[in-house]
Symmetry: C2
Subunit: 362 residues, 2 copies
């Protein structure tokens, strides 16, 4: 299949850009002598998982049990389920253990630790540590809570260590601030691990990561593994943060021009929020930017309609974009845009398009 | 299956509320003596389509060819594809015609009309009219453009009439303004049809609609059919507009409590933007509101994490929501939230849960 024959809207993946993004992360993490445990929630594709784990141990990170099940079926055996466990999910998770998967859970409360310890499986567990005050996790200085969770787990689970994710790194003003975010992430995890070790819990695993901190960390002393996911594609958010350029964004949404509103200077396309997602990213790119035409953004999106306008508010010369013209829209947030699609149309270097399936759900 | 056994997150549909919403729309449209052509883009379910079309002619509206194909396979034969046609889609659309479907297209330009007229199928077409300046369509007073499109179609298509959608009705300050929006929508369509008739094009079809205008129209003189879709579920946007109450919202996302951040007054849940969508609706409900607890909204959402906080900024008493507690989140925008799921867990009046599949894609 050739690109021009694709029905629109369709999710495109530029394989060469993806491979360059993967190579860059591999090199960044390798220089610290730690393991990479790719987060597969962005891609949700076994073909892409294989590219992300090539050369590493095969350890992966997931955000749902559905991902754990799909990647287990593809042969992955070392899976970190990196969302605080709801006790009601333990029986479903136990089915993976019965199939030989080493599934590690995370939690940040004594109540969850008690539920996990009381379950029939002797679960490997990481305690989630809060490194930015933005979501979940025990404060790294809260020794009492860390030790209480360790003690609750002793009744019937295995405390393997700690993990943290500094999502706040995405709020950095620019790349100069990212080494500092990486250091704050490292320090939170290493501090919590030190507290647990001092209380007699060995904590062999110290797991950190986000795409910005993984790429910009200067020192990972005390860390054993790095998790990251969005680097595989990159997006307008990572580009806006200065982590990459817009030319490094490996996915886009192919769309067709379906109309013009010359009096308002608009071009209408058949990619709305259903194809692009409703994610507005950093707030400066609308619902996405036209690839290689940084003046044009999707200023408004309905379910199956997008409105292209010039970033500066001036009119688009619509004669340049006749009805039926194909354009590609770069996504604000690769995880969200890819989630709106059930397949990748993969552009290989020979110009041909392959289809790689993508799964969703829970 | 019972509600408490559902793995979370999961999309729930309260069948009784859905049926009451459908009955209300049926009554509103019936009083004007016009046809209802339900828009199936919100539900994307053949089971729900049957509920929405019961008692009507079976005419439906869709937003993608995938919907047209799915509903054609379920037996629907009168389908309006209500997004401006991209000429590249005509061959795919023609396969439905070959299967006996009466598929009507819409367009708003001479270029699209020429492409449609030149295609092998003699397409039935409605000209899209712009009734609010917000998206597509010919201005209702632009006689020159309307007639030029009609003439272009004469070469090989059938002009059946006009259609418009006043999406701007969702921006009304309250229900008092909705009759005025409905009248503006009606006037735009009837004016354009009059212009075309005066130029010798019969225009038997005059199609209008949105959920707010369909429910609040006082006079539909000259209109032949009404389209609406979101009424089947309702959401926090239609409730915020005063079209319904939050108790009328028929879908919700079941979620489990996975953590607490007592110092910040937060409760963490396993429904993030992947389960809720990134749609922020009217901007006053975060990513959704806890059903029957209007003080609690999802103030922040990551892929699989939601953060519940009090609307007034005060702390949540987290002892009321222990780890594992099930809650239901009402969606800002039913179309967007439902699109994140591949099935409805339907609560029937006997308390049992059935699963109805939902499709996606293009």
């Amino acid at each position: 299949m050739h690109l021009a024959d694709l029905p629109t809207p369709a999710l495109l993946l530029d394989a060469a850009k993806m491979r360059a993004n993967i190579a860059r992360m591999n090199a960044a993490v390798s220089q610290h002598g730690v393991q990479l445990r790719p987060h597969l929630k962005t891609a949700k594709s076994t073909a892409i998982a294989r590219e992300m784990t090539a050369g590493w141990s095969g350890a992966v990170t997931v955000s749902t049990l559905k991902e754990a099940e799909e990647f287990a079926a593809a042969g992955y055996r070392d899976i970190l389920y990196a969302v605080g466990i709801a006790p009601g999910k333990l029986d479903q998770a136990a089915k993976l253990v019965a199939r030989g998967v080493n599934l590690t859970l995370i939690l940040d409360s004594v109540a969850a630790a008690e539920a996990v310890a009381a379950h029939a499986v002797r679960w490997p567990v990481l305690i989630e540590v809060d490194s930015d005050g933005r979501r979940a996790g025990v404060a790294p200085g809260n020794a009492e809570q860390l030790v209480a969770i360790g003690q609750a787990l002793s009744a019937g689970a295995e405390l393997h260590g700690v993990m943290t994710h500094r999502g706040g790194s995405y709020a950095a003003a620019g790349p100069d601030q990212l080494p500092e975010h990486a250091e704050a992430e490292r320090r939170a995890a290493v501090t919590a691990a030190g507290t647990l070790r001092a209380a007699g819990f060995p904590c062999p695993v110290v797991s950190v990561g986000s795409t910005p901190t993984a790429l910009f960390a200067r020192n990972l002393t005390g860390v054993t593994e790095v998790r990251a996911g969005v680097y595989v594609f990159n997006d307008l958010v990572t580009a806006g943060l200065g982590v990459c350029g817009t030319e490094d964004v490996a996915i886009s949404v192919a769309t067709s021009v379906i109309g013009h509103q010359p009096e308002r200077g608009w071009v209408l396309i058949d990619a709305g929020w259903m194809a692009l997602s409703g994610d507005k990213g950093r707030g400066d790119q609308g619902y996405g930017m036209v690839a290689a035409e940084p003046d044009l953004i999707v200023v408004s999106a309905n379910q199956e309609h997008g409105i292209l306008a010039r970033r500066d508010g001036g009119p688009i010369d619509h004669h340049r974009y006749p009805i039926g013209t194909q354009l590609r829209i770069l996504p604000n947030h690769a995880c969200a845009t890819a989630a709106q699609h059930d397949r990748y149309h993969v552009l290989e270097e020979d110009g041909l398009v392959q289809v790689w399936p993508r799964f969703g759900g829970w």
